[in-house]
Symmetry: C2
Subunit: 353 residues, 2 copies
């Protein structure tokens, strides 16, 4: 029998709030019976939704607050107005106090990151947290990070991302030694930013037991599934993610429009419905929903704001996996142990030069 | 009657060489009767192809050389071995000498850039050339640059890219004042690298008559066609391009595979053939083929190496437009005139701070 996994939900987060969050929790609970939920938010909005899902009601506690961070609040505003009172803060606080193993919010990303960082603090050896996402590929799925939390970064930062991403991939994909690639604009060793080359050299030199460093991967290598983990700093990670999402949406729209142009193609669409459904399922942003904040003393999962209950349930699933397989401890162990190894490589290089 | 446009083709460039380049030239000549071609390469390989295309033969001169830059040559190797002798160099040399208005090669990008830079030199005020591409969008097409020529860059570099990209867009899309956006990871003014914010401030302050600066554009804004010109430094530009290309290919493959799964969907595919063809046409890399090197004393167009004759013809079309509408002079005029304006803005800002 697996042990309980305690999940704190910001029930006010997202474009809709409780009416998406609560049904989402019910869907995920159906898949993972051992979840216990802390539902943080306005009792008057949570309880009517909860009445529709008796199993969820039985597995949940409500933490009431009528303060909510707005989707358009700036991080500084959110911290000023919502600290210690908002549903977002109190959900994070449950992790801080050890009352929950993971917190999930569809609230605004900047505010969630600012509050998480402020309250949970970064892990020893980590300066800036990262956002990691699950990217659908030709071969299955890959973890890509950083999707936009921290712009730029030196070799040490990139190596930390590789370690944390590998820990997440090992949990999600059940692989003891996931493959890791560094995003770059060429696969030749001579290309790219100095810090990327240096990070590559370090990862190759330490040859960690928990990750298999493959080298550089170009932008189209992500979708090919060339590595289980793709590492880059937050600017290019965000650009890659948005460019890919934009292209997927653009193609889907184009196809839909073209399909409506003639009776023949409309009929063709009906006949090939299953193929389109499969395409939609595989490229569905709902399915890859759930950005994970890595590098904090606690696991924080960010769901898209404009998501369906199904999508939110997927974000809960991701949070569940992270907590169930103890991602945080894995990361800490790797950082503690390999932090020494990585530093010694650095020292060796410096001694040589 | 339009005047002649003289185009130098590296007939040995690309995975195939003359057997793609010559038929490609024939296709483009059919669309633009006023082109005169200089075909640079091995006469023994060019002439048999040329015999199949009498109209092209009549419009072409051959410059013979049996030296060719290999696709896997490093830029330094190419310069060492192929300088003054290779088909790539001699095609560039034709532009340098004023014997051609534009040069087009499907040869290796690094070698073409190194040779172009070495022989043509950069324009006054431009430190590093850029690669600009035409990106298919929901609204039509946009110019995106830099796609990977120069990594990083300050505000001055980004402003130069904006000016050159706007000149290219005005020529290609026949718009006197194309809209320009700076690629960033958020549309709020506070986000992003310092140099991007500074470039935005400068573009807004000078309010150029030749370009309409709109502000920041996120990665998914490119495909939405939010601006005629999208400006970014070469690392993130290359990542965005490759991520988008990868996603388009991934979706097309996925759809093709799904369509083969059942008799019904195969039949559906047949009926909706026109829709798929339209999709393929619009997202076809052949159609957006033709990266343009901007910032040199001469127009250089790079075609994909593994392209069809149709795709190569499109690259010639792009080169034709650039030369026909005198892109180089436009860029020079804008840089000369606006160089002063941009510097004075900088001075004004410095005086204030």
């Amino acid at each position: 029998m697996p042990s309980k996994v305690r999940i704190a939900l910001d029930a006010m987060g997202g474009d809709v709030g409780a009416a998406v969050v609560i049904p989402g929790a019910a869907i995920s609970l159906h898949r993972h019976r051992e979840i216990e939920f802390l539902l943080v938010g306005d009792r008057a909005k949570i309880e009517p939704e909860l009445e529709k899902h008796p199993a969820l009601k039985a597995a949940s506690k409500i933490i009431h607050t009528d303060v909510a961070v707005a989707m358009h609040d700036k991080p500084s505003q959110a911290l000023r107005r919502g600290r210690k009172t908002s549903s977002m803060w109190l959900a994070i606080d449950a992790v801080k106090k050890g009352e929950a193993d993971v917190v999930i919010s569809a609230g605004n990303t900047g505010a969630l990151m600012a509050m998480s960082r402020f309250h949970l603090r970064t892990l020893p050896g980590i300066d800036r947290p990262a956002i990691a996402g699950v990217w659908p590929t030709k071969r299955g799925e890959s973890v890509v990070l950083d999707l936009g939390a921290a712009i730029g970064g030196d070799a040490h930062h990139l190596v930390s991302l590789a370690v944390m991403g590998a820990a997440m991939a090992s949990v999600l994909f059940d692989k003891p030694r996931p493959t890791v690639g560094l995003l770059n604009i060429g696969t030749e060793e001579i290309k790219g930013h100095e810090e990327i080359r240096e990070a590559g050299d370090r990862l190759r030199a330490v040859n960690l037991p928990e990750l298999d460093y493959l080298g550089f991967v170009e932008g189209d290598g992500i979708g090919k599934g060339l590595a289980d983990v793709i590492v880059t700093e937050g600017f290019s990670g965000n650009i890659a993610l948005k460019a890919a999402e934009g292209t997927a949406r653009q193609m889907a729209e184009l196809l839909r429009n073209e399909m409506q142009r003639s009776w023949l193609s409309k009929l063709g669409y009906l006949l090939a419905r299953s193929a389109f459904k499969a395409l939609r399922d595989k490229m569905d942003p709902n399915k890859s929903n759930g950005g994970v904040f890595l590098g904090l003393n606690g696991i924080v999962v960010k769901s898209h704001g404009g998501i369906s209950s199904e999508g939110f349930a997927y974000a809960i699933d991701v949070g569940y996996e992270m907590a169930h397989y103890d991602l945080l401890n894995k990361i800490n162990q790797m950082l503690n142990r390999e932090g020494g190894a990585l530093s010694s490589v650095q020292t060796a290089q410096e001694a040589v030069s």
